[in-house]
């Protein structure tokens, strides 16, 4: 029971193909590089290897070492030089190999990337994309399963988006590259191999817009990135028990596009926000804060949150417990309905 728009997309389909989220990103990057010679790809192992997740597979071979750069091993260097390249007129797309390794670049991102357009009163644009495979669920070692998006959503001057499915991945990466602002692009690595029907001739959905993926009236679920599938699964399960849940994919984390959420909550009266990230001072808290203000009289229960815990990401044998899953989401829905 997908949204009208998704239907329209598939409807309009001339030649749809089945791709994975990972492959869609690769196709999207290729399309962006073909469309604009100023687009560069930089990062660790993005060349011959095609990145550890193969998202840049084949691009160096086809576009050359001038446009797909295997950089030295230092994230501040990757982002800091990308800033200079963007000032020079390039459109760098930087790959951070794993979520946990973006922190050495945090200073460049917060102090330079986020501020240059403002500092220069618009005289210098910084069109660059920072791709970050994020989140857990792949049984990885430490620092490979972090969800750092809230740090960036809290940083004015950055745009932050996350794709949740193969179709969005193809369009959103291209839209992010075309955007004249710096964009943090969070990729749900555990969903890289989820399949979707991609129609490259279809009309893309706007980048900075959240989207209702499933209609329902009992309660609203809001998520982004990897948790969207979890919520859709939960909604499907709830439907079997006769509970109809609305599912909204945020897609843009900064700036937030909450009008669809407000509209939904005014109908359902109940909201559960789902995110892998730790709860304290997070994006999920922001959503709860905004909704309780905008929908004060509509809420029949407080906004509830299902999130990762306020602990470091645990050893992977425990990640199944750490990560919100279908059961925890439905448990929260029950609590909300019972309020």
């Amino acid at each position: 029971m997908a949204t009208p728009v998704l239907n329209k997309t598939s409807a309009a389909a001339s030649a749809t193909q089945t791709t994975t989220l990972a492959k869609s990103l690769n196709l999207g990057l290729r399309a962006a590089m073909e469309a604009d010679p100023k687009v560069l790809i930089m990062g660790e192992d993005v060349g011959k290897l095609g990145g550890v997740f193969r998202i840049t597979d084949g691009l160096q071979k086809d576009f050359g070492e001038h446009r797909v750069l295997d950089t030295p091993l230092a994230e501040s260097g990757i982002i800091g030089t990308a800033v200079g390249l963007a000032i020079r007129g390039f459109r760098p797309v930087c790959e951070i190999q794993f979520d946990g390794f973006i922190f050495p670049a945090f200073d460049q991102i917060v102090s330079q990337v986020a501020k240059l357009h403002y500092r220069s009163q618009g005289k210098v644009k910084l069109p660059m994309v920072i791709r970050v495979p994020f989140g857990g669920g792949i049984g990885a070692v430490e620092h490979h399963s972090e969800s750092p998006e809230s740090y960036f959503a809290h940083t004015a001057g950055l745009r932050v988006v996350s794709c949740s499915n193969a179709v969005d991945a193809y369009w959103m990466i291209q839209q992010a590259i075309r955007c004249d602002d710096p964009v943090l692009f969070f990729e749900p690595k555990r969903r890289y191999y989820e399949k979707g029907q991609l129609d490259v001739d279809a009309e893309p959905y706007p980048l900075f817009a959240s989207r209702v993926l499933r209609r329902g009236d009992a309660a609203t679920l809001v998520a982004y990135g990897p948790m969207v599938k979890t919520c859709l699964d939960a909604a499907a399960a709830a439907a079997e028990d006769g509970t109809s849940l609305e599912v909204i994919d945020l897609r843009t984390l900064s700036p937030l596009d909450l009008d669809p959420v407000f509209e939904s909550v005014r109908r359902t009266g109940r909201l559960v926000v789902v995110s892998e990230a730790p709860r304290e001072s997070s994006l999920s808290g922001e959503i709860a804060a905004r909704v309780q203000q905008e929908c004060f009289y509509s809420l029949e229960a407080p906004v509830l949150r299902v999130t990762g815990f306020d602990t470091p990401y645990p050893p992977s044998k425990l990640e199944e417990e750490f990560l919100p899953d279908l059961d925890r989401v439905l448990h929260a829905v029950d609590r909300s309905l019972a309020w």
Binding site: A74, T81, D107, S120, D181
Partner: protein, 401 residues
């Protein structure tokens, strides 16, 4: 292991360089050298006494410098110093929130700035008022930063002079990326090639970003001149807190040339900078220049150097004043008469008067400026916050706020 640096290595059992109250023998030696000639390898073309000394390696880079050119360099230095002093005074009088003096570093900055060609790009730190001058940025355009009205009002692209960067070291990586772009654009390799110059201090050399800049620039053969002004101090910390070795030697570990030039000698700095920029535009970058100079004033107008350094150090450096040696040289060779010096004096007074006039009349930015240019593309969220706030302000019947 008998590397040339061994001399800086403490003897077994020597007091730790940083943890003992008493300095090691090496530190004393380093300290003495620091306040004397700046080391054996210091490139100098004009002595503090204004004598022109020969330098087989670098003379050719200033062979074309006429008496008029030298007068021009003198003029540049006098004017930027005058502007610097005026701005300092404006801060004292409450017209600026803070000022970052360049006093004493005129030769380093004018020598480097005048070596750059129009097509070159510069990435300054926050003290490069002299370089700004050479890039066609008026002193007036710097004031907003220190008065709190903006973050620099010049056009970084048009002037090919990036905004000031206050976070120590950040700009070095940005410059490395820009220089990589010059190479990717095919603008490197011949006499008309482009190059980039990035400015940072002795303290900045400790930052990871500066190292990564060295790594990137060398691995990508970026046409980048690392111009380190070693003014002996990072606020209250002497250069010994950052390194055991003369800083120009840092380049050794990366495989590109490093040179120490007398940063109080405008001619030598011009020559070495021209050489370095040439190396870069021809594809032989990067190059590190350590301009050996001295911060003659406080770190900023809020700093109190008497807490951490002795005045006789300043006195010793006054004898090496960057402007005085050029003046003496011009006089000795009768390349300038009193009329010239008077005219420069008059011009600098004029400049200072205009600067003051401009400063005291700078309008405060309108509140909604706060919300502008956060993004290049529209942001409903920022717009909403702006509208709400402007409405709130309007609520005050034209006053209160």
């Amino acid at each position: 292991m008998s590397s040339p640096e061994q001399w800086t290595h403490p003897e077994p059992g020597a007091a730790p360089a940083a943890t003992a109250a008493a300095p090691t023998a090496e530190q004393v030696i380093a300290g003495l050298r620091a306040t004397s000639e700046g080391g054996a390898e210091l490139v100098q073309l004009l002595t503090p006494e204004g004598e022109r000394v020969e330098n087989p390696e670098f003379d050719r880079y200033v062979a074309d410098v006429t008496a008029e050119d030298l007068r021009g360099l003198y003029r540049d230095m006098v004017l930027v110093r005058r502007a610097d002093r005026e701005a300092n005074a404006l801060q004292r009088q409450g017209q600026l929130g803070i000022w970052v003096p360049l006093l004493g570093q005129e030769a380093a900055q004018i020598g480097a700035g005048r070596a750059m060609r129009p097509q070159d790009m510069a990435f300054p730190s926050y003290r490069e008022h002299g370089v700004a001058w050479c890039r066609g940025v008026r002193p007036e355009e710097l004031l907003g930063i220190f008065r709190g009205t903006d973050n620099g009002s010049w056009d970084p692209i048009a002037n090919r002079f990036h905004l000031y960067t206050i976070v120590i070291g950040n700009q070095v990586l940005n410059a490395a990326g820009y220089a990589m772009g010059q190479r990717f654009d095919g603008k490197v390799g011949d006499d008309d090639g482009e190059a980039t110059m990035v400015f940072f201090g002795d303290g900045a050399t400790s930052q990871g970003d500066v190292h990564e800049g060295f790594v990137w620039a060398s691995v990508y053969d970026a046409p980048l001149v690392f111009f380190c002004q070693n003014n002996q101090w990072a606020i209250s910390e002497p250069t010994e807190r950052q390194t055991r070795l003369p800083l120009y030697q840092r380049a050794r570990g990366y495989g590109f040339p490093g040179v120490r030039v007398d940063g109080n000698d405008v001619l030598a700095t011009l020559a070495v900078s021209r050489w370095a920029l040439d190396e870069c535009r021809h594809g032989n970058g990067p190059v590190l220049i350590e301009a050996y100079t001295y911060r003659m004033d406080a770190h900023t107008t809020t700093d109190d150097p008497t807490r951490y350094r002795l005045s006789d150090e300043l006195e010793a450096w006054k004898l090496k004043d960057p402007i005085e040696r050029v003046r003496v040289n011009l006089i000795r060779h009768e390349h300038a008469d009193q009329a010239f010096f008077d005219s420069i004096q008059a011009e600098s007074d004029q400049l200072a008067a205009e600067l003051r006039e401009f400063c005291v009349n700078m309008p405060d930015p309108p509140p909604d400026r706060m919300f502008r240019n956060v993004y290049a593309e529209p942001s409903p969220q920022v717009d909403a916050q702006r509208d709400e706030f402007m409405e709130y302000l309007a609520g005050f019947s034209g006053g209160a706020h």
